[in-house]
Amino acid sequence: MSTTSDAYLRQDADAAAGMAKITAGDVNVHYGDKHALKGINLAIRANEVTALIGPSGCGKSTFLRCINRMNDLIEGARVTGLITLDRQDIYDRELDVVQLRARVGMVFQKPNPFPKSIYDNVAYGPRLHGLAHSTADLEEIVVTSLERAGLYDEVKDRLDEPGTGLSGGQQQRLCIARAIAVSPEVILMDEPCSALDPIATAKVEELIDELRENFTIVIVTHSMQQAARVSQRTAFFHLGELVEVGDTEQIFTNPQHKLTQGYITGRFG
């Protein structure tokens, strides 16, 4: 994985222009014998929402997990190729995974608040990384994170109640607040709304749109409408390969590839 590999040179124009926050060059992932991702080349721009779509099992989550190296936790998973964050190889030996994950936050499919108070949930990351120098500092971080996640008004009177007692949608926004609290640069979201009802979904989508101002967001979704509503760029995966990537509008109105066309018109998936 040297920085002068062919894969790196094959980055698309955005990367060359230095606009890309994250680049993936010839990324392959194997789970044991299973070849789950095949030669992915993708650039993700800063301060945009990039949606990853495709039929289930096509490797969207796998790709997402490459970006914060969560695949390291899966036994038998092997990642090759080059992934950079701000032009720095994230699989480099010198790089500290723990710091990488502080820079690249993640929101999961199922809300997974810790069985702690709402306050402690949000304060967890800042405490872990020593981001607050005083309790007042910490409180400020917690409150702003909850505000940015659009949850503060709903929970401000019960910050010391357990986060697990919130509704599903509130839990997911709590998880987003928890991710924001460590001030990451990138937020990865793996089908963040799949366990939520339509109203909670609408709230989270609205939130994603606001967060774009400060964060680079990569979201996996199985809902084409959602991809269309929240994202600026869309990447379509199929059977472990990246079939097509482009501006969301173009992908949905004028897909270049027949597979993409079939998928977005609902002929399969």
Partner: protein, 460 residues
Amino acid sequence: MQFLTLVAVLALMSAAVYRMGRGRAQALAVTGVHRLHSLPSYYGYYVALWCGLPAVLLIAGWLSCEPYILRALVVGALPPEAKALPAARLSLLMNEVRQLAASGDFRFSSSPIATAAAEQYRVLRANSFGAMAVIALSLAIVGGFYGMRSISPKLRARNRVEAAVKVFLVASSTLAIFTTIGIVLSLLFESLLFFDKIPLTQFLFGLDWSPQTAMRADQVGASGSFGAVPLFTGTLLISVIAMLVAVPIGLLSAIYMAEYANPRFRSVAKPLLEMLAGIPTVVYGFFAVLAVAPFLRNLGQSIGIPIASESALATGLVMGVMIIPFISSLSDDVISAVPDSLRHGAYGLGATRSETIRQVVIPAALPGIIGGILLAVSRAIGETMIVVMAAGLSAHLTANPFASVTTVTVQIVSLLVGDQEFDSPKTLSAFALGLVLFLVTLALNVVALHVVRKYREKYD
């Protein structure tokens, strides 16, 4: 022998009737215009139940009443001078009569009265058995006939058999529950007898335990004193030492097994660890006596601390080892039950593995772990064999782990081993101690199960 024959005959009849019932139902199914309600074998079971069940119930009822009726009859027929005996002597006599009748050998009879009564007892019992056999067999035949007669395509044999099965299950569980209640009641009853003689406050708060009561009024130094506090503190001291060993080791090994060990190592190490729980406690007992206690005593000698050879420390250490698998196995289960999504949440925020375990996994599993520890405590308090072998007998009120102490269970054993009168406070005090032990472990179990269940609800 006769009895076994009777049972075998009944079983054979039921089996035969089962085949007949099934055959009849099959025949109906072939010839009849109606569809059978149930499979033919259910009709077979149905008839077999009608044949066997009434007879079995009769036998059970008969056998449980027989001794009382026979006794009443034999006592009624005794000569007046025997009838006038005090109750205790009479019961002795009846015991002899029963034994004579059972052996059939009257050479060692103590008196002609006993011989005569035994003869009568034998005859009565033979008659009683004959009558029972005849009635049971006729019941079986009548029942079998009735069952066969009622076979028809409309008969809901399957549902009836189901109902019988259900009654049987309910009866079994009722029996178990009543046994428990019976044990508790007898414990309670004997304890009340004890508290009649010794005030409850003396028992619960008294600091002196020496249960030797005087056999004769003029005996010296045997007034009997039943302050159980030294026993409670002794039990507590040994349990605390045991938990100090078991909780850290058990918990840490559970964490290692659940979070770090690779599956291959785990599949070998976990059964090995759990094997500790399968070692008979008596083996732990002599391990404590023969290995740990002398070792500690010698160690104490060489560093200048006097350690009794029956020290609370040695006993507690060994008991702690015995309890390790309880804690590790239960904690392992609850730690493994913490959903991976929580771990991923922490990793995703940049937590390291040990941070994740300390700050997220253990707090999430804590209620379950505490439940496991409470169960282990109740196990430690009730543990008998190790302490009987390794702990002392004399009740010292001390918190010194190097001294010898005694426990509630040890005292119960020593009170009830050997000859005893069941109306002296000395013997009765064992029941009071048993009651206390029961109440404490019951409370611990209830709390522990409640805590564990609460925890389960959260993640299911």
